[in-house]
Every structure is written in structure tokens, then in C-alpha cells.
Symmetry: C2
Subunit: 262 residues, 2 copies
């Protein structure tokens, strides 16, 4: 179906949301050990922001996003990709059905994240900054526990509210405000005993490089973890990403009082 | 061929190079007047970094990149896109052949850039920071002259060397160094009488937001111009991009002496 001269190796289901996909593509490129264009991964990003909201579907108990996700998987398979990545954690609720109908391997973001956690710490307590859909789906709880880490769930309702705000702010394009909300959630996670915090929604990966000092809390970026897993799976050398996109904030913006909290 | 639920409206021929495409996707997303995922443009990016080098082909007088570019256009047409963008200036050397074989309109980056120049100045002298391939191709000289602007071509050979260095450095992932080289080229352009400088290679668009003060020289970003043209063509509201990706530089890095030059 596709001419061999332009055949992609990696298929990406993007647009969930668009800025999170752009962040993934940027990180995939920056993390590739390459000096010239043709040392990079041939890929195709199918950006489908028109999909029904994943969290709403999971909470309501319906499978609205499944059919278009399956259509995206079919299209990428028709383009003869070797493997597929979905830089959207919540969409992995339907991973089983999607993988069962795909010739190309779908790289699970949860597996990529667990590998990334292990690269950063041996044991300890991990908090997950994720959508309510991802939390209801439960695939992170299973994986993180099975890998021998404790889960840290801040009891304070403010924690999830801050996470929800940060995600919505990224979708609305307000990255600096989203970073502030993310820092507040990270602060609450640390108060609840977390050693590490997973940015378990790729919207939050967009703000990862814009976060201020996190007072020793280890931050795991699910988009960066997925990019590393894709490159490794396809046999590309991986380098630490230098100079990821950041958004500078005005100096007068309120700062999180990490010092007082510790 | 593609399910209506995931049909893309914009097709993007990317990977020329990959970081330039990521920058385009980022700017397209940031410039879309949208607060939610489904207010963004459904799109597909076919990232083909494996293509033969465009400048080498133009200088050597062969059409090596044409067949794979035509294959990319065919694939995007098969995915039923409404229009196509190529965030690579040099590839527009083959625009005529590509457009003649595409049902979907291919939005010419040169037309987008001329519209962007007009938004920024009424008349004056414009320098073009572009690959040697783009300069030999000549499509910018024609368009900029036809729009009533003067072309500024710095006689100093150092100008093009700095431009070439900057492009190669972005492809090698050294964005901060590329920004320094770009600033030196901009400085030489201003010394040669330029009122505005076109970043006429999308590699240079990657460093646009990382440039230090350019001493009043107007800088036109070809990726941002193309993103604006795509959004307008497809009927989306355009906003000024807030918080584009920047790469911070170490303070001890040498600074361009704009003040001494003026």
C-alpha cells in the first residue's frame, strides 16, 4: 500500500491531545542518537483530536473511543508500521482490544513507565498524576505494584483537583499556569510520602521541562518513557534529551513553598 | 480508504528534518484558537527523514527526492486530506510537479511567507536565511520581488557559512549553538542593510524563539507562516502562539554585539 521509499517504522496515534503529541514527537526526535535527518525514525503521526473524551467514556462505562481508536490502528497497520505508540495514557484503557486487532506491536505506555521508574529508583512510594479515567482503569496500579513499588494516593481531594486543572490548562494552551498547578499536586504528593511522582498523563509531560525545583521528588515523564521504549524497540540509540521545550514564567508568579513543606 | 471518524483534514510531509516538523506541529497546535482537543485540526504527519538530501540534489541538478515526495503526496491523498503542507522550504523546489499530481491543495510555503512579510512590514529590504538549494531554486527571490520588497544578499561569504552551520547544528540537535550561528547571520544581514530577515529554512524556525534581542531586525519564521496559512485555509481561528519552545543558554556563552554594530 505504501511505497517502500517512504515506509514508516513507527505509527503514532496522536492528538489526544495535540500538544501532548507534539511533545512526544519532539522528545522522540531529541532523544534519538542522530546527527543527520536520515538517522531518525521514519514515522507517521495520525492526529485524531476529534475522538470522544476518554475519561468521560471510562467514568460513564461506555466504549465510545474504541471504534475510532481501532480505525486508527487499522490505518497505521495499512501503512505497514512495525510498531505503534499512543502518547495518551487514558487511551490505554482499551489496550487489550486494540493490541488483539493489530499486526504491529502496540508498545504499552505502562510498561515503558515501569521501566523508567526502575531506571530512577529501586524501591519506594510512587504517586500518579493521571486522569480520573486512567485511575479508574487501574492499569498503572497493577503494574507499579507488580514491579515492587508502593502506591502513594494523597487523601487530600485537592490533589486530584490540581491534576485535573493542570491537564485542562494544557489542553487550553496555558502551559505556565498548568506548570503551577502541577507543582502544587507534586507538593501534595510529597507531603503524602511519595518518593517519585509519575506524570501519568501526557498533557503533564508538556510541562515537565518547565517545572521549578521539585525538592528532591523524582519526576517520571510518561511521554519521555514511551519515546525511549519506542527507540529501544526499533533499535535506535537513545540519548538524554538536551534542551527540551520550556515555557518561561513571569518572575512575579507565585512560587510553590517547597522549603517550608519539607 | 480511511474511516470517517478519524479522517485527517491536513496532511503534513514531515521529517525534513524531524525537529523542524516537530516545531511545525507544535506551532500549528499553539496557534490554533482552541480550548479543547476536538477544536484542533485532525491531521496526519508522514515523517520521511530517509529522503535524499534536497540541497545536494538541487546543486547536483538531479531529482532524487522527487519520486519519494510524490509517493508521500499520493499517500496523503489516499488518506483523503483536504490540503497538504511541507514544512521544508527546500523541498518546494519540486512544488510544481507535486501540485500537478495532487487532488489536495498543496499550500506553498513561499506564499505563506510573503503574506507573513506583508503582515510585518510595508516595504524594505529582506534577507533570506535559507539552504543553498532553496537559493538556487529561486522561488523566494521571485515571490519577494513580486511582492514589492527588495532582496538583501549579504556579499560577505561568512553569511551563508553561518546559515549552513546553523542548519546543520539543528539537524545534529545542538539548538543553542545553532541559535548563536543564526544570530551571527542575522547580524551580517542587518549590516548589509536588511530591515527584515526570513528564516527561510524550517530548521532555523526551531531556534526562532531562542534568539536573543535582534536589535530591531524583523524576523520572519517560515514554519509559523506556514502554520498560519494552513489554519486560515482550513477555517480555524488563529491566535498568536504563546510560549513557544525555547532552549536556555548558559550565561557565559558569547553574545552577539548588536549594540556595537548599529
Amino acid at each position: 500500500m505504501i511505497d517502500e521509499s517512504i515506509r514508516p517504522r513507527l505509527g503514532i496515534i496522536g492528538g489526544l491531545g495535540p500538544l501532548a503529541s507534539a511533545d512526544f514527537y519532539f522528545k522522540l526526535t531529541r532523544m534519538t542518537e542522530a546527527l543527520r535527518d536520515n538517522e531518525h525514525v521514519p514515522s507517521v503521526i495520525l492526529s485524531v483530536p476529534q475522538l470522544p473524551d476518554r475519561t468521560e467514556a471510562i467514568i460513564a462505562g461506555h466504549d465510545g473511543p474504541l471504534a475510532p481508536l481501532q480505525a486508527a490502528v487499522s490505518t497505521l497497520n495499512a501503512l505497514e508500521v512495525a510498531c505503534i505508540a499512543m502518547p495518551c495514557n487514558t487511551a490505554h484503557h482499551w489496550y487489550g482490544q486494540l493490541a488483539a486487532n493489530s499486526r504491529a506491536e502496540i508498545i504499552h505506555i505502562g510498561d515503558a513507565v515501569v521501566a523508567e521508574i526502575r531506571r530512577n529508583l529501586n524501591r519506594g512510594c510512587v504517586a500518579n498524576l493521571a486522569t480520573r479515567g486512567t485511575l479508574v482503569s487501574g492499569f498503572y496500579q497493577d503494574r507499579i505494584s507488580a514491579a515492587g513499588f508502593d502506591l502513594c494516593l494523597p487523601a487530600n481531594a485537592e490533589f486530584q483537583e490540581r491534576v485535573d486543572n493542570a491537564i485542562a490548562l494544557v489542553k487550553a494552551g496555558s502551559i505556565a499556569d498548568a506548570a503551577t498547578e502541577t507543582e502544587r499536586a507534586l507538593h501534595l504528593a510529597q507531603l503524602a510520602g511519595a518518593d517519585a511522582a509519575l506524570l501519568g498523563c501526557t498533557e503533564l509531560s508538556v510541562v515537565a521541562a518547565s517545572l521549578n525545583d521539585t525538592n528532591g521528588l523524582i519526576v517520571i515523564d510518561s511521554n519521555a518513557a514511551l519515546a525511549r521504549a519506542c527507540l529501544t524497540r526499533l533499535g535506535y540509540g537513545v540519548q538524554e534529551a538536551r534542551g527540551l521545550p520550556t515555557v518561561s514564567r513571569l518572575p512575579e508568579q507565585d512560587r510553590l513553598p517547597w522549603q517550608r513543606a519539607s
